[in-house]
């Protein structure tokens, strides 16, 4: 069975499972919107200030929302034993791990990208900045799923795993946050966001190449 077929089959299974538990997808989305709306309440309604903060706030909220749903990536399979069966399939683990991460991104990353413009408008971002925001999220959220998968795999089955994942993964998210929020800031201040977006793209390629191997090693360690 070629590798692409395995990934497609796994994607179908993951999306079917996500559809059966639509609640989980929505909770991530609601969390994203709520966190982003908290900042104006905390900082005050001054439009000029909010416009400056807009990109950063949306990015931080997206980062926290993506991290919230990391636990689901392997934990439910580990609990009911299907993860062991996946490890014992003939296909190389890197293949189905990439499938799993892609499925996690589709379920928790893409909804954030779709909702982000609405929040951007709420913060008074202009048309061009909104476009850069969406594009930076498009490049950034897969990296959040990729790096997050390492944290999820390492903390499999640990009590208090949720908090631990955030401690492990947040420092590694910082470059993505800097370049993502920086892109929006660059677009708004007229400096142009090409540099940030290309660096973000670079990190995406690097993460796509390296993290599945790290996740495979982490799973082998955690399943023993």
């Amino acid at each position: 069975m070629s590798t692409s077929q395995t990934v497609i089959v796994l994607l179908r299974r993951e999306l079917l499972l996500a559809m059966r538990r639509r609640g989980d997808v929505l909770t991530v989305l609601f969390f994203f919107v709520i966190v982003a709306s908290l900042f104006p309440l905390g900082v005050g309604p001054d439009p000029k200030l909010l416009r400056l903060m807009g990109g950063g706030v949306v990015w931080v909220s997206a980062l926290l929302a993506a991290m919230l749903s990391l636990g689901r990536m392997f934990a439910s399979d580990h609990a009911d034993g299907t993860l062991e069966q996946l490890v014992l399939t003939p296909t190389p683990p890197v293949v189905w791990i990439t499938g799993k991460i892609l499925a996690h991104w589709l379920v928790s990353g893409v909804p954030l990208i779709l909702v982000a413009p609405v929040l951007g408008v709420q913060f008074g971002l202009s048309g061009e900045a909104l476009g850069v925001l969406v594009f930076s999220l498009l490049l950034g959220t897969p990296v959040l799923s990729l790096i997050g998968a390492i944290g999820a795999a390492l903390t499999l089955g640990l009590r208090g795993g949720g908090v631990l994942v955030s401690l492990l993964v947040l420092p590694l998210y910082i470059p993505v946050l800097i370049f993502g929020a920086g892109a929006v800031d660059g677009a708004m201040s007229g400096l142009g966001a090409e540099a940030h977006l290309s660096l973000l793209g670079g990190i995406l390629i690097l993460a796509f190449m390296l993290t599945p191997w790290a996740v495979s090693a982490a799973l082998r360690i955690s399943i023993e």
Binding site: I150, L158, L164, L167, S222
Partner: protein, 248 residues
């Protein structure tokens, strides 16, 4: 049958345990010696800096601590890589033994950085590229130690810690680059520690001696913590029983 097997497998921790036991006093001694020499140079020989007068003397603690915090993380990652590659439990124990000392030195460099920033730039915390990266490095240390303490099975704790240390060390340059990029963009580098006071040679010597002191101290602390970890892990082993009877 079990005992013969243990003797073979536990040979290396046993020899390391006694070998380290003899070395530790020497390293503590060397650390104290270098520290006294370094402080003497830093506080008595080094001239007053015309810009910052006496406040700059904090660099004799801040800079060596910052160097060491980065150096220890890299050494930790090396032990981790060795452990994963050759499946040697001793390497994992060394990595776990280094982490707390590295975290402590990172905190020292953050604390002294803040105390140095206040008189020099008027703010306790300066979002300078190096200080911010140091703060992130502190989080990486905390993540390593939190992960290791959250896992009960020593074998899994070692390997999981080793992996996060390796992932961390790959990310440290990326983080450092992105923070510098972020710092230069937002503040135009007006307030930044990169313009350290002009390095009179005596100051550099002082810092190098203090760095040596920190290095000796780290080795001593890590070796003694490693011995504790060995004792806890190998308490079922034959050589521990013999050693304790010999002492009793």
């Amino acid at each position: 049958m079990i005992n013969r097997f243990n003797k073979y497998r536990y040979a290396s921790p046993a020899t390391f345990y006694h070998f380290a036991g003899r070395l530790i006093p020497w390293f503590y001694g060397a650390a104290a010696l270098f520290c006294v020499a370094g402080l003497y140079i830093g506080l008595f020989l080094a001239p007053t800096d015309f810009q910052q007068s006496e406040a700059y003397r904090i660099i004799f603690i801040h800079v060596p601590a910052a160097w060491m915090s980065m150096f220890i993380y890299v050494v930790m990652a090396c032990w981790a890589a060795l452990g994963l590659a050759f499946n040697t439990r001793m390497s994992f124990m060394m990595a776990s033994a280094l982490a707390p000392t590295g975290a402590m030195l990172t905190f020292v460099s953050l604390w002294t950085g803040a105390l140095w920033g206040k008189p020099t730039w008027g703010a306790w915390w300066v979002w300078d590229a190096r200080l911010t990266s140091e703060l992130i490095l502190f989080f990486l240390y905390l993540g390593f130690m939190a992960l290791q303490s959250a896992i009960d099975d020593p074998r899994r704790a070692d390997r999981a810690g080793a992996l996060i240390a390796l992932v961390g060390v790959v990310n440290v340059p990326i983080i450092y680059f992105s923070v510098r990029w972020w710092n230069t963009l937002h503040q135009g580098a007006s307030v930044s520690m990169t313009k350290a006071p002009s390095m009179a040679s005596i100051m550099l010597v002082g810092m190098l001696v203090m760095a040596l002191a920190a290095w000796m101290y780290t080795i001593a602390a890590a070796l003694s913590r490693a011995r504790c970890i060995i004792l806890e892990r190998e308490r079922n082993a034959q050589w521990v029983a013999q050693m304790l009877e010999a002492d009793a």
